[in-house]
């Protein structure tokens, strides 16, 4: 099963292609008498209990008027109808898309640049790369608390640093107009390293020949990047875009810790709205309908990106 382009990150190959290729694949290793599926039984049971059951239960609950302590009553699709008339929800959707667009595009551009930098040999490269990846590994709540202290309007270190270069103090997360960009900034800080690691993996697998002939032809480094490197690592960039999109849509920890959706509802994304409905107001039926809609949004966007990825692959 070793192909020339191994691409361990290859989502669709693992998800869809592999199943087909086993039928006609070489080796014919699938042997029912060996009962390999038995190895997966404990995991399947676990996944049924903590993943599949919650899905099904959520679907059921979304048709209920569920009150904590009281009973449940079947109300059909009413939760969904109310949801789509809920202005606060619709605003949260728009806000989430805006946040997601920024929190995908900026880390992807910076992450590709960082990967190009870290792909080169230089002193202390390993150590600096480790430092660079720390933000994505650190406990988000711990880091968010430090950011909160840094954003303090009077005593925060960020406004002081800005004042050193002559920029007036900012209100960061304390103003509805700057709260989303500020939260995006944290997201960029945190997740650019993930994009870098994915693209770095792509860069490591690049062939050398195209570069050699292009350099002989007198191409400069921008040309090399634009016409050779970028097309070759594009599949990896697409994976990064997809993962980033999924994660940005689901953003929760940073916003919950730093603003809890505020000021007002200025940073209330779908996930924050969902949390409030479920565990603040305990409207569990309503929240379940919201989960279903949220899940559909995420899957649709993923499929859209998967489709774009397939096309970019064929064109390459």
């Amino acid at each position: 099963m070793s192909s020339t382009q191994p691409a361990p990150l290859d989502l669709p190959t693992i998800g869809q292609g592999a199943g087909r290729s086993t039928l006609a694949g070489p080796g014919k290793r699938y042997d029912f008498s060996r009962k390999y599926w038995l190895f997966a039984v404990p995991a399947v049971v676990t996944i049924l209990a903590v993943i599949v059951f919650p899905w099904l239960f959520t679907l059921y609950m979304s048709t209920q008027d569920w009150k904590i302590g009281g009973g449940a009553a079947f109300i059909g699709l009413s939760n969904y109808v109310i949801l789509f008339q809920d202005e606060r929800f619709l605003e949260a959707v728009g806000r989430t898309f805006w946040f997601t667009a920024l929190a995908v595009i900026i880390p992807v551009i910076l992450g590709v640049a960082a990967a190009v930098v870290f792909h080169r040999e230089f002193p202390l490269r390993g150590l600096l790369r480790t430092v660079f990846t720390m933000p994505m590994m650190a406990t988000p709540v711990a880091v968010a608390l430090v950011w909160t202290m840094m954003f303090h309007p009077q005593l925060g270190v960020l406004n002081y640093l800005l004042s050193l270069v002559g920029i007036p103090p900012q209100s960061w997360v304390y103003d509805p107009s700057t709260v989303i960009p500020t939260l995006v900034m944290i997201e960029v800080w945190q997740w650019t390293p993930l994009v870098m690691l994915i693209v770095l993996g792509g860069l490591a697998s690049l062939p050398k020949e195209p570069y050699e002939s292009a350099i002989i032809d007198g191409a400069n480094s921008w040309h090399l990047f634009r016409h050779i490197t970028l097309p070759l690592v594009w599949p990896y960039v697409m994976i990064a875009i997809m993962l980033r999109t999924i994660d940005a849509l689901k953003v929760f920890d940073n916003i919950f810790v730093i603003t809890q959706g505020g000021p007002g509802t200025a940073s209330e994304t779908i996930n924050i709205f969902l949390y409030l409905q479920a565990f603040q107001f305990y409207k569990l039926g309503y929240a379940s309908a919201l989960v279903v809609v949220f899940f559909i949004i995420i899957v649709l966007l993923s499929l859209l990106l998967l489709h774009a990825r397939q096309r970019s692959k064929w064109n390459a």
Binding site: L9, L11, Y36, F39, R120, M137, V146
Partner: protein, 277 residues
């Protein structure tokens, strides 16, 4: 590679600056965290800010251990994350093997969907079930919920590793009369040891860092560290120094792991583990 020495020097300086620009935001935040945790209250609220603690003090750390149930929450985190990683390995490693050998794409796809699903969607049903059977606010409930994180990561990483373990050795053993279980236990498993380490490290990190599960399901004495420090912030007006010290302590194990196991983490993240991160 070409050009005059001066040009080369300029290119080098430009490259150095871009490296600096990339790593300095990370350095700034973590150093500031360290600085806050080592300063007394007067210095922490001074303006302009005091950057280098003079003299550095460990009072904040003493405060964290003295005033809060920090050790209890630490123990909770160890129980929940340790348990979830352990159970995750016990069920996830054989599953990764079975899926890799049977090439069961459907199951792999299920794991992918688990990666896509928002954590809160597991929480609502599990919350109700735990309430029904009286498990809300217990360590057990948290441990079970953390399996949502650890099992997919471990299964996914292990599929990747077992796919790269050649089949021939096991085939030979099976011909000699070994059972598939023996083939797994004595041949494939030892060869996939690096994968087990990678899966354990990654699932440890993501479980340790998890916040939302403990916010919803954790009780006053059973919450894990991330939600414990968050509650300290909101319910007791605590000053910056102890808070920064607590934040640093919470994330320290993960940061140390990042430094020590950088190679494994990068390997895991680029070998597919990132899909479930």
């Amino acid at each position: 590679m070409r050009g005059r020495p001066l040009q080369r020097l300029a290119a080098k300086a430009g490259f150095g600056l871009s490296v600096l620009a990339l790593v300095s935001p990370a350095i700034l935040v973590f150093l500031w965290m360290l600085s806050l945790s080592l300063k007394n209250d007067a210095d922490n609220t001074a303006f302009p800010p005091v950057f280098i603690p003079d003299p550095p003090t460990l009072d904040n750390f003493r405060d964290v251990f003295a005033r809060n149930n920090f050790l209890l929450y630490l123990w909770n985190s160890i129980l929940v994350t340790g348990g979830a990683v352990l159970v995750g390995l016990i069920v996830g490693v054989p599953a990764g093997y079975g899926i890799a050998r049977a090439k069961s794409a459907k199951f792999a796809f299920l794991i992918l969907i688990a990666r896509i699903t928002p954590a809160l969607s597991y929480l609502i049903p599990l919350f109700l079930v735990f309430q029904l059977i009286g498990l809300n606010g217990t360590i057990t409930a948290l441990l079970v919920t953390h399996l949502v994180i650890t099992v997919p990561i471990i299964v996914w990483v292990m599929i990747g590793y077992f796919e790269n373990v050649p089949m021939e050795l096991e085939d030979a053993a099976l011909v000699d009369g070994a059972s598939p279980w023996q083939g797994f236990l004595h041949i494939a498993l030892p060869l996939a040891k690096p994968g087990i380490i990678v899966g354990a490290i990654l699932s440890f990190i993501f479980s340790w860092n998890n916040f939302i599960f403990s916010v919803v399901l954790g009780g006053k004495t059973t919450r894990t560290l991330p939600s414990a420090i968050y509650n300290v912030l909101t319910f007791e007006q605590i000053s910056w120094g102890p808070l920064a010290a607590a934040a640093l302590l919470v994330t320290l194990p993960v940061l140390l792991l990042t430094v020590v196991a950088q190679r494994q983490i990068v390997a895991g993240l680029s070998a597919g583990g990132l899909k479930d991160g």
